[in-house]
């Protein structure tokens, strides 16, 4: 958990850099607030026990490293595809007392 916290701290630091650039009128996408929402998502996931260490590390790395290799990009796509399949799986039938 302490490792995760230090990563979250690093992401927060990165966000503050992005926000400063945005405030100075730099040509960045105005997503600083959206990215800060991502911290809320990540913290929520920590609470629910979902494993997001990979995503946190990837976002942190974007502030200090070059673009990742194709293998990492492919891995992210595979993770997204697997999550989408689970989210979009047909719902079970409605149970007694439940509206469909």
């Amino acid at each position: 958990m302490s490792d995760l916290q230090s990563i979250l701290d690093a992401v927060n630091l990165g966000l503050s850099v992005v926000k400063r650039v945005a405030d100075m009128g730099g040509s960045v996408v105005p997503y600083a607030s959206t990215l800060s929402n991502a911290i809320g998502v990540v913290q929520q996931l920590v609470k629910t026990g979902a494993d997001v260490a990979e995503e946190i590390q990837a976002i942190t790395d974007t502030f200090s490293k070059p673009m990742p290799a194709q293998g990492d990009l492919d891995r992210l796509d595979a993770t997204i595809a697997a999550s989408r399949a689970r989210l979009h799986a047909p719902l079970p039938p409605a149970e007694p007392g439940e509206e469909d």
Binding site: E55, R86, L87
Partner: protein, 143 residues
């Protein structure tokens, strides 16, 4: 004099595009012919995709949480009731928001791949907005 204007103009533009220090007007410079590295592009999109991936995991986590027990047990529990009583409606809303987010990200990816020297600010911005909307569709269980 008029005969010389066009060649001089073309020469100026060509030199403007070739000069090492000339910056594109898109990057705050004065050259209309200098190329510009994509100011908004692959790395911004990569960040958006990671946030999207994390949001997807949260959405899946909600779905699995709200189908971990019979519906009657979920609504009988004062903690799980407000989170899960509309679980079918919530999942459908998340699915719809995800479909839009995924489409927006694909659009941005295609644009960045095909236009490496153009600013991707509008398509990547749209992708970010769609991911934000998706985040809003996912309940904050236990918040």
């Amino acid at each position: 004099m008029r005969v010389l204007v066009l060649p001089v103009l073309l020469l100026t533009l060509a030199l403007g595009g070739c000069a090492a220090e000339q910056k594109s007007v898109l990057a705050g410079g004065s050259s209309i012919t200098a190329t510009v590295a994509n100011p908004v592009g692959p790395v911004d999109l990569y960040r958006a995709k990671n946030v999207y991936s994390a949001t997807l995991k949260l959405a899946v986590s909600y779905r699995e949480f709200c189908w971990s027990k019979p519906y009657a047990a979920l609504v009988a529990d004062p903690i799980t009731r407000p989170v899960c009583q509309d679980r079918r409606k919530v999942v459908r809303a998340m699915q719809a928001a995800d479909t839009k987010a995924n489409a927006a990200i694909k659009t941005a990816e295609n644009f960045v791949r095909r236009n490496p020297t153009l600013s991707a600010v509008s398509v990547v911005g749209a992708a970010w907005q769609a991911v934000t909307d998706f985040q809003a569709a996912v309940p904050r269980a236990g918040a």
